[in-house]
Amino acid sequence: MKILVALKQVPDTETKIKVAADGRSLDPIDVKWITNPYDENAMEEALRIKEAQGAEVVAVSVGGERTREMLRNALALGADSAVLIRALETGDPLSVARHLAAYAQGKGFDLLLLGHMGFGGDNGAVGPMLAELLGLAQATVVTRLELGEGCFRAEREAEGGTEVIEGSLPAVITTQRGLNEPRYPTLKGIIGAKKKPLEELEGTATEAAISISAIALPPARPEGRKLEGNAAAQAAALLQLLREEAKVI
């Protein structure tokens, strides 16, 4: 079994996001980068499969220099090798999917695991695009995965219930929180990671299908107002404000 896990770096959830001067990208200053939390589930699933039945796990990321640290972390966790595909992060999912597809093509992966979306960007597009580009079966937003002989069975949360999907391998699976509880790297793993291969490839310049033209932060919340008087007076004042100011009733 050979598994590809695609990983992306995203700003830490605690980072105070600032828009860069160009108005269409994040100001990278003071941003702390972490592995996309959904990708951690993908990584964990790959490691569990490896432990249960043996597998070769390859961690892959499309990005720049700082991505190396995340990949080394993947090696520390237990990936056998890592690949950095150097390309500008343009925010275009199709270009990422093309890079991944170009890499994965013909390498005999049985399973391609990705987080179901990038935290913050929330596109949820790379996984399905990758499956389409490679012409493979796919199951998205998966919360339970079982592998059989050349086939898989996946559960995904659907509106009001659970959907069970079966398909044949190779396949692309995108992972949701709840699939598993991601582990921490061990200190031994970190030390051992130095000796594992981290390959670097130059991305092929693909034409971006889309580009981000602007990003904006939500408007600052106006300050609250305290209504005075007894309960009846407050209720009356509130009703009036809802009607006349907020115009919601």
Partner: protein, 585 residues
């Protein structure tokens, strides 16, 4: 990470060397691997330990055991255990990062420190092959947990006054006596116990939980770190096999004090971890609490508290990593395979004992001030157990008491300075010549101040030694002033040099670092001159004192900065960030 290859570096040499002339390791130079390991410790603390904060503090011993075991699975218990015994034998710098993270839950970090430090290290450094093979792998995994039993009801700071005795009876040792204040006693499996063979020869032994005649008392009710187990224990004809003697008979003091010395610099790191938490909660609260129509972080005195908290954290970090750089170069470069590795490592530790003690007292007292000011910033709410400062205030207090009280550590610093100056390795001089100006740049004045302070301290200490000789140590007040000056000089210099390195590297926070260093120098410099004069007042009289005071004028050249302006700039930055901003993980 050879930060210090120059032969001139030895304990106390900073007092003589011009500022910036010695290599100094800073956290900005950490390796990627060290940072990755620090992050594991952080994830472990944030993911497993802090969510259980309340349960730990209710002294859930089973939980503490379980958490230590989990830490063991990650490798966090084997940092200093040789690889041959399933440890990782990591460098000391990486270890410091781990300790800083662990420090964020005060009780748990004491359990962790007692197990991995004073509990395990005696076996690492002094165990024979069989003892190491038997105990270390299990201590590394957390299957067994360790404790260190030196203190007795009548032997605290004066640990050698031990009344516990060991007598050989055939192929068993028989122990009698009692121990007091033993951390981890409630759940430990393995105890390193000090006792006097035949009532005379101080020695160390390994005692196991189930040894006959070994009794562990009930938990102490403590002021703080309520989640760490602390108990007395008794030995009533406790019989242990002969091969549980650790090290040589009569060499117990080497084990006891050698291991405590290693513990000292670590305690400082833990203090700094929790100091950052304290600043964070205080920043949040002072940004929300409004009085007189504005949040209280607008008031100058509150801003001063906030800025001083950040300043102390910066200084502690600078000093800690500098010291660990020296200790690491000395200790970690000696491989465990080398003959007499343990002895050689401990000698390196001895060399920097003065600096390790400085870390211990400075960091623990800085945390004390930070906790106190955090209570103050919360006002009445700081006095309520519902808010974080109350626990910070109680928990931090222990750090000034154990691993050698701060008084004992001050005396260690003073006696090292006095001894080294008498054997000419540290020739203190009464130099009153003009100090050359130290260039320009934003830190020029601070550097000048550090150099002036060195002259003040050298002059006063040398003058006092001329009068009293080694007997100066018997005047504890005077000796403590010498220790105090040296410590604050080391602290100032470490901060200034780090800030300058950050500026040279165009670090994201270099402007803040410069302000932090400047504020600290501005606040500290006058105190050093005062200590110098008071030390001279202890030993000189009449004309000699007048002459000394006249000489001191040569060093009185520091013109203070407008501290409130620096404070304000610092406060703006940390308030905007909502935390201590300088991250190195």
């Amino acid at each position: 990470m050879d930060v210090c290859t120059s032969e001139k570096i030895f304990g106390g040499s900073f007092l003589l060397a011009p500022i910036g002339s010695q290599p100094q390791f800073t956290p900005e130079e950490l390796s990627e691997e060290a940072r990755a390991i620090g992050k594991v410790a952080r994830s472990f603390v944030e993911g497993e330990v802090l969510p259980k904060d309340a349960e730990i503090d209710e002294l859930d011993l089973e939980l503490s055991r379980k958490l230590l075991r989990k830490g063991g699975d990650l490798g966090l218990l084997g940092l200093e255990i040789p690889e041959a015994y399933d440890g990782l034998d990591l460098d000391k710098i990486t270890g410091l990062l781990v300790l800083e993270e662990l420090g964020r839950q005060a009780s748990f970090s004491v359990s962790y420190g007692a197990h991995t430090g004073i509990g395990t290290l005696p076996i690492v450094y002094f165990g024979n092959e069989a003892q190491k093979a038997k105990y270390l792998p299990k201590l590394a995994s957390g299957e067994w947990l360790a404790a260190y039993a030196l203190t007795e009801p009548g032997a605290g700071s004066d640990a050698m006054n031990s009344k516990t005795v060991a007598t050989l009876d055939g192929d068993h040792w028989v122990l009698n006596g009692s121990k007091m204040w033993i951390t981890n006693a409630g759940f430990a499996d393995v105890f390193v116990v000090f006792a006097k063979v035949d009532g005379r020869k101080f020695s160390a032994f390994i005692v196991e939980k189930n040894d006959p005649g070994f009794f562990i008392e009930a938990e102490e009710h403590k002021l703080g770190i309520k989640g760490s187990s602390t108990r007395a224990m008794n030995f009533d004809n406790c019989r242990i096999p002969k091969d549980r003697l650790l090290g040589e008979i009569g060499r117990g003091h080497r084990i006891a004090f050698g291991i405590l010395a290693i513990g000292r610099f670590k305690l400082g790191a833990g203090c700094n971890g929790i100091a950052k938490e304290a600043l964070k909660v205080t920043l949040r609260y002072t940004g929300e609490r409004a009085q007189f129509g504005k949040t209280i972080n607008n008031f100058g005195l509150i801003r001063k508290y906030l800025a001083m908290m950040a300043t102390r954290i910066f200084v502690a970090e600078s000093m800690n990593f500098r010291t660990i750089g020296y200790i690491n170069d000395g200790m970690h470069s000696i491989h465990w395979d080398q003959p007499d590795a343990a002895k050689a490592k401990l000698e390196m530790m001895d060399e920097f004992q003065m600096e390790a003690s400085m870390m211990k007292i400075w960091d623990s007292e800085a945390l004390g001030l930070i906790a106190d000011e955090s209570v103050q910033c919360f006002g009445g709410y700081g006095f309520s157990a519902e808010y974080a400062p109350e626990k910070l205030y109680r928990d931090n207090r222990i750090n000034r008491l154990f691993e050698g009280t701060n008084e004992i550590n001050r005396m260690i610093i003073a006696s090292q300075i006095f001894k080294k100056s008498s054997n000419a390795s540290l020739p203190l001089r009464k130099d009153t010549a003009d100090l050359p100006r130290l260039g320009d740049g934003p830190l020029a004045k601070a550097k000048q101040a550090v150099e002036l302070a060195k002259r003040q301290a050298q002059y006063a200490t040398a003058a006092a030694l001329e009068v009293c000789g080694q007997k100066l140590i018997e005047n504890q007040e005077g000796a403590a002033r010498a220790a105090e000056m040296a410590t604050e000089i080391y602290a100032m210099e470490s901060a200034v040099v780090r800030a300058e390195k950050m500026a040279t590297a165009s670090h994201r926070w270099s402007e803040l670092a410069i302000d932090l260093a400047k504020l600290f120098v501005n606040e500290t410099t006058p105190r050093i001159l005062t200590n110098a004069k008071l030390l001279l007042g202890e030993v000189l009289e009449d004309d000699a004192l007048d002459q000394a005071m006249a000489d001191m004028k040569a060093f009185d050249g520091y013109a203070p900065e407008a501290g409130s302006k620096i404070t304000s700039r610092i406060a703006d930055q940390i308030i905007a960030k909502g935390a201590y901003p300088i991250e190195y993980l």
